[in-house]
């Protein structure tokens, strides 16, 4: 089959690789009809997440048709011919984490748990196409994928919704939604979202769906801010204005009640010397993150507010504003999305027309043009917001 693979730092390559096979009895093989490039793929390509190997099949947002199931996949859960969206974390459904619906922390699905434990203190779940630290599972930017625990994760789509309407249930829509949900939004809340990329856009939409009074989008790309504005959110361009002053201005001096960091470890911007400090430390790998958005969110949030982090962080960061966090009673919440928990309720919201996931798609390319898709998305060329790959 054809598959998009990691070919070294800042390099992906569509190659011929073997077709996937059933390895465990609860596996299914899915013929992929649509897949996407995610912002966190960029962290892998940039080399900030360790343990990538030449030839790793990338991609963790995908959907398609079940063409084979293992002997222990019950027929009432999944059958050949079913149309499914596959969540990016691989979860067993049986461990203590799964029992608490903390699917991205599943205790059983990462065969490289020992490595993840050294890095994170405790292991995390296996993730498709997301380094060997998260299990070494081949990803979904391919024609076919092996899906372990197929009786737990995949969501069957039984209505006639299009691929583009449901594809993002695999990752960025639930991720954005969880970012807003962790904010415990009240009707009077002003919610500020750092990053108007795909996850940020969905965090904004979700904050509104959950009843926020005002939603603010912070980014520097005019086309992304325009996209947020068209969806009814208030744009703030950090290249043009001082973010904290503007946020105070928009909130009567209080600061946003809830702040969402949808940027993560590769934030650009910040005061020149702090940015340089982070850039240098990141370059020599003594700090893996450039946590500018997180620092700014903590400093801007109103006292007693919530800072919700859905941007990806990989390792260690410096100059964390612990004083602001502690002295001003802030709540910090975070997590890789527990996608399985949100898929069905969000599918229902899509069916009811409350959220339109298709609004962020700017590019549709054949799988064979994945390399160009990465270039467009990474360099924000041609107003690229979200690339969907079709095979």
């Amino acid at each position: 089959m054809r598959a998009n693979t990691w070919a070294g730092r800042n390099k992906v390559e569509v190659r011929d690789v073997p077709d996937p096979k059933i390895l465990n009895s609860r596996d299914a093989i899915v013929r992929i009809t649509s897949t996407a490039i995610c912002g966190s793929d960029l962290h892998l390509v940039d080399g900030y997440v360790p343990t990538m190997q030449d030839g790793d099949v990338m991609g963790h947002e995908f959907m398609g048709e079940v063409i084979e199931v293992g002997s222990r996949v019950p027929g009432d859960k999944l059958r050949v011919g079913d149309r499914v969206v596959v969540p990016f974390p691989i979860a067993c459904g049986a461990c203590a984490a799964c029992a608490k619906e903390l699917y991205s922390c599943c205790e059983n699905t990462n065969p490289n748990a020992g490595i993840a434990e050294k890095m994170f203190g405790h292991p995390v779940a296996g993730i498709f196409g997301y380094s060997h630290l998260t299990g070494g599972f081949a990803g979904g930017q391919a024609q076919y994928a092996r899906v372990p625990f197929a009786d737990v994760g995949p969501l069957k789509i039984e209505s006639d919704l299009t691929d583009e309407q449901v594809l993002f249930l695999s990752d960025i829509l639930p991720t954005g939604y969880m970012g807003a949900e962790m904010c415990d939004i009240q009707p009077s809340d002003v919610v500020a979202v750092w990053g108007a990329g795909p996850v940020g856009q969905f965090a904004m939409d979700s904050a509104r769906v959950l009843g926020a009074a005002k939603v603010i989008a912070i980014d520097k790309e005019p086309y992304r801010l325009r996209m947020a504005e068209q969806a009814g959110h208030i744009p703030v361009n950090f290249d043009e204005v001082d973010v904290r002053s503007r946020l105070l201005e928009l909130t009567g001096g209080r600061g946003p009640d809830k702040c969402i960091d949808a940027v993560g470890l590769e934030a650009t911007h910040g005061s020149a010397h702090i940015a340089a400090y982070d850039r240098v430390k990141q370059a020599v790998r003594s700090e893996t993150e450039r946590p500018h958005a997180l620092r700014q969110a903590i400093m801007s949030c109103r006292s007693g507010g919530v800072v919700s982090v859905i941007g990806v962080y990989g390792g260690l960061l410096d100059k964390f504003p612990a004083g602001a966090w502690m002295n001003r009673s802030l709540t910090l919440r975070t997590g890789q999305c527990h996608v399985q928990r949100y898929m069905r309720p969000l599918l229902e919201r899509i069916e009811r027309g409350e959220i339109d996931p298709t609004r962020i798609i700017t590019h549709r390319l054949p799988l064979d043009e994945a390399e160009r898709g990465f270039e467009l998305f990474k360099n924000k060329e041609d107003n690229c917001e979200k690339v969907v790959l079709k095979s």
């Binding site: 099949v57 222990r72 059983n108 490289n112 020992g114 060997h132 070494g136 092996r146």
Partner: protein, 326 residues
Amino acid sequence: MTQLASREEVQARDDEVQRRGRELGWMSLGLGVAQLAAPDAVRRISGVDDSRTSRTMVPLVGVRELVHAAGLLASRRKGIWAWTRVMGDAMDLTSLGLAIAHRDGRRRRRLIAVTGAIVGITALDLLTAVQATRAQRSGSGRRGGHMDLTATATVRKPASEVYAFWRDLANLPTFMAHLEEVRTTGDRTSHWTATAPFGKDVEWDAEITDETPGERIAWRSTGDADVPNAGTVSFVPAPDGVSTEVYVSLVYDIPGGAIGKAVAKYFGEEPHQQLDDDLRRFKQVLETGEVVRSDGAPWGKRARKEFPQRPAQPLSDAEFEKGPEA
């Protein structure tokens, strides 16, 4: 377990080495700081204040002491650092000897006093280095001795079920990387086969020495096993009322000589990691029914080393046919 020397004894020896290593570390730190902060005083007291070279040498020796201090205080491998100190001592004694030959009067007397002190310190360094090296050998099993391993995991199943799975000893090879087969030969006896560190399988008989159904199993090898071993596993209900905490403790009596070396090598640098991984697979089997495989580590318990892995891409038909031996 009479055939195995007491674990406490080994532990006590190691504690002693660690303590002495730390003391030497603090002493190095003190000497290093003094030589860097007040080199002139150090030069006067030791009687080399008339020499130009000592102006450069004293701070350099100070830096060396600080390096030793860092090593001795921060590292558990006190042996190596103690040996580097011994080498430093030898250098100091040589230069002091040269200096004594060229001095007289008060300076000579001071130099002799300092030399005496350094001789004492050297003896202490030498003792620590030798003991640390000996402790490390027996600790890691390189040249024969003990290997004690413990690990624990929580399995989300009731203790009765977790116990029953383990008590059926034939199940152990499904998750323990080194075990090939465990065959039950009697009510309490069994025959174990482990994959070979030197081209042939290692086999031994074992007996259950103590058991409380649902709570604890203890066993040990019998007869003249190549690698005498013993273990216990306890099953303790977890506070959540659903899960079971599993505590495993294993002791291997690693023989000396070629076999011992091969065994130690076979267990690898990270025997604790391997037991942790065994228990993780035990949990997987009980909670999900089998060992989870990924494209990077497709052979379950056969993935003996986590790295380097094969790339995270599907296996070719040939690789799939060949299986784990490929």
